[in-house]
């Protein structure tokens, strides 16, 4: 299936929303790949971090279906090393926000086992599941 690219996608509302919420100029990214090269959780991702940004740049909305945006641990390694100072963690947050606004619910919080909840430091629960509410 061909991905259609036009003014509606590259300069449309989806891209503008991402830029507004993240405060980032998506086109500053030249896709060097350094973020992907240093991402610690990459083995658990379905789409590379740099590819997430690429899809966002082109206004391709099925980026919202990627697991990557929920698995990002916000370790901030990517933004610390980015040559163009593109804040990818903020872009991930913007994508999560838009996804939730559209009703995408990635995790059933209630399904987390009780023993795990009892064992974890509460900052893990607040931090981890904070992502799943706006």
């Amino acid at each position: 299936m061909r991905t259609k690219i036009s003014i509606e996608t590259v300069m449309g509302a989806f891209v503008k929303d991402i830029e507004l919420i993240s405060g980032q100029d998506l086109l500053a990214c030249n896709q060097c790949g350094k973020c992907s090269s240093g991402c610690p959780v990459v083995d658990a991702l379905d789409v590379l971090p740099s590819a997430i940004l690429r899809l966002a740049q082109l206004g391709i909305e099925d980026v919202l279906e990627a697991q990557t945006i929920w698995t990002c641990a916000s370790c901030l390694t990517c933004v610390s090393r980015c040559p163009k100072d593109v804040d990818l963690p903020r872009v991930m947050e913007a994508l999560r926000t838009i996804a939730m606004q559209r009703g995408i619910q990635p995790v059933d919080v209630a399904a987390v086992p009780d023993e795990l909840v009892a064992d974890l430091p509460q900052m893990a629960i607040i931090g981890g599941f904070r992502k799943f509410s706006i």
């Binding site: 030249n30 896709q31 060097c32 790949g33 350094k34 973020c35 992907s36 090269s37 240093g38 991402c39 990459v42 789409v47 590379l48 740099s50 590819a51 390694t77 090393r81 980015c82 040559p83 163009k84 100072d85």
Partner: protein, 437 residues
């Protein structure tokens, strides 16, 4: 109008400009801060895209400079001050103390043989050794050594005021040319025009802590690798890695180390690295038949004549594996060097356990460039390079009357472009001499 020219810097740009002016009958004062001429080109093994031996194509020119009736060569010297203007510049030149009487020295090399004190050779970028008394290379022009006060035990004992130590070179020199009392001297020259050809230096590894910060012995820069490849280099052209001298079987080239990085390095592209990396990968394959080179890149810049074909040769004929993704981290794990990069084209984060890593460090304006800019009243761009009078139509004029620029001091560039600019600057000088004189 004094029909003499000053050329600052004797790399290939300075050498070419000096020869062009000198061969047209005008005198040239050529000043070089290193003990001998040739600049970075003298460090190279072969040049791209022809794979000509660098020494072989350069030596005829360096020898011509050394013997030329119209070239007054001051090496191990720096321009201290310039006053005056076009037609009559007064140039004060500081001749550093070499502690060797070059009028007597025949270049026999016994002093270097007998000197017991060693240090990493700057010419070899840390992969080779030199002595406290040294020449840069066996083909140095002029072939006269200098003594380094930081390594020379005799000079250090003189500075401490205690008992005098060593003095081996003094003892063994057959012509009594060693002079530990030598002082630096100043000379004054008058010229009508100046060509600035001060060149480039490399970004310090220390500024790339995620790549090891210069502390990992088997992470070297491309000029160092060039010295390992060079037949006249410290390993006789055998590729041996610094930590244990073993032949590396898997080597990784990391492009854009410091370049194209407004946040942590320099914002510009250093232009020559894509090409020299392909060259080094090809040369490595020729030396180590069972070795595998990998190149991590962001883009491949190969716009010159024959350049794209050269890259194809590396990829198709020589089996160099190109991975598109900037390296994020380099660290040591046992006797391997781990490289974390990615291949955005296939969508993978990639890890390579390398034996040797070569960084394409960004090209910066050479050390001393800002002093030259100050003494001539030249502006620098925001990266410290010289600015042309007109970036499109007059690249080799400095915008200050009588001053011209050529080579990497204006921005990183390859040898063909450098030589072309040098001849261009020389032509401008000669036009000036004709017009007024």
């Amino acid at each position: 109008m004094i029909n003499r020219a000053l050329v600052i810097g004797a790399g290939i740009a300075g050498i070419q400009a000096a020869l062009d002016i000198a061969n047209s009958g005008h005198e040239v004062v050529l000043v070089e801060r290193q003990p001998s001429i040739g600049g970075h080109m003298a460090q190279l093994s072969e040049t791209f895209p022809t794979l000509d031996c660098s020494q072989c194509i350069m030596t005829p020119r360096t020898v011509e400079v050394g013997h030329h009736d119209n070239i007054k060569l001051y090496t191990y010297s720096e321009v201290e001050e310039i006053t005056g203007g076009q037609g009559d510049f007064k140039v004060k030149i500081r001749r550093k103390a070499s502690y060797v009487n070059w009028d007597l020295c025949t270049g026999c090399g016994v002093c270097q043989e007998k000197c017991p004190w060693k240090a990493p050779a700057e010419f070899d970028r840390g992969v080779g050794i030199r002595k406290a008394i040294y020449t840069l290379s066996p083909q140095a022009v002029p072939n006269k050594p200098v003594v380094n006060p930081e390594v020379c035990v005799r000079l250090k004992s003189m500075a401490e005021g205690g008992k005098l130590k060593c003095g081996a070179c003094l003892k063994f020199c057959p012509i009594n040319a060693i002079d530990f009392e030598q002082q630096e001297t100043f000379v004054e020259e008058h010229v009508g025009a100046v060509v600035v050809a001060t060149g480039y230096d490399l970004f310090p590894q220390m500024r790339l802590p995620e790549y090891g910060g210069g502390k990992i012995p088997d992470v070297i820069d491309a000029l160092a690798f060039e010295r390992l490849l060079a037949a006249s280099g410290p390993t006789g052209g055998k590729v041996k890695r610094p930590s244990d001298g073993k032949e590396p079987k898997e080597i990784v080239f990391v492009q854009c180390s410091g370049s194209r990085d407004p946040e942590h390095g320099v914002p510009y592209c250093s232009k020559i690295c894509c090409m020299y990396t392909a060259k080094q990968a090809i040369l490595y394959r020729h030396r180590v038949h069972d070795g595998q080179p990998y190149v991590f890149y962001i883009d491949i810049r190969a716009g010159g004549k024959g350049y794209e074909e050269f890259i194809n040769r590396a990829q198709e004929d020589e089996g160099v594996v190109y991975l598109r993704g900037k390296v994020s981290k380099i660290y040591r794990d046992g006797d391997k060097v781990m490289v974390w990069g990615s291949d955005t084209l296939s969508g993978r984060k990639v890890e390579i356990a390398a034996d040797l890593v070569i960084l394409s460090l960004a090209a910066l304006p050479a050390e001393g460039t800002s002093e030259v800019q100050r003494s001539l009243g030249l502006d620098a761009d925001k990266n410290g390079f010289y600015i042309s009078a007109d970036g499109e139509l007059d690249p080799v004029s400095a915008g200050v009357p009588g001053v011209f620029i050529a080579g990497a001091g204006l921005g990183p560039k390859d040898i063909p472009e450098t030589v072309a600019q040098a001849s261009g600057a020389a032509a401008k000088v000669l036009t000036l001499f004709r017009q007024v004189g």
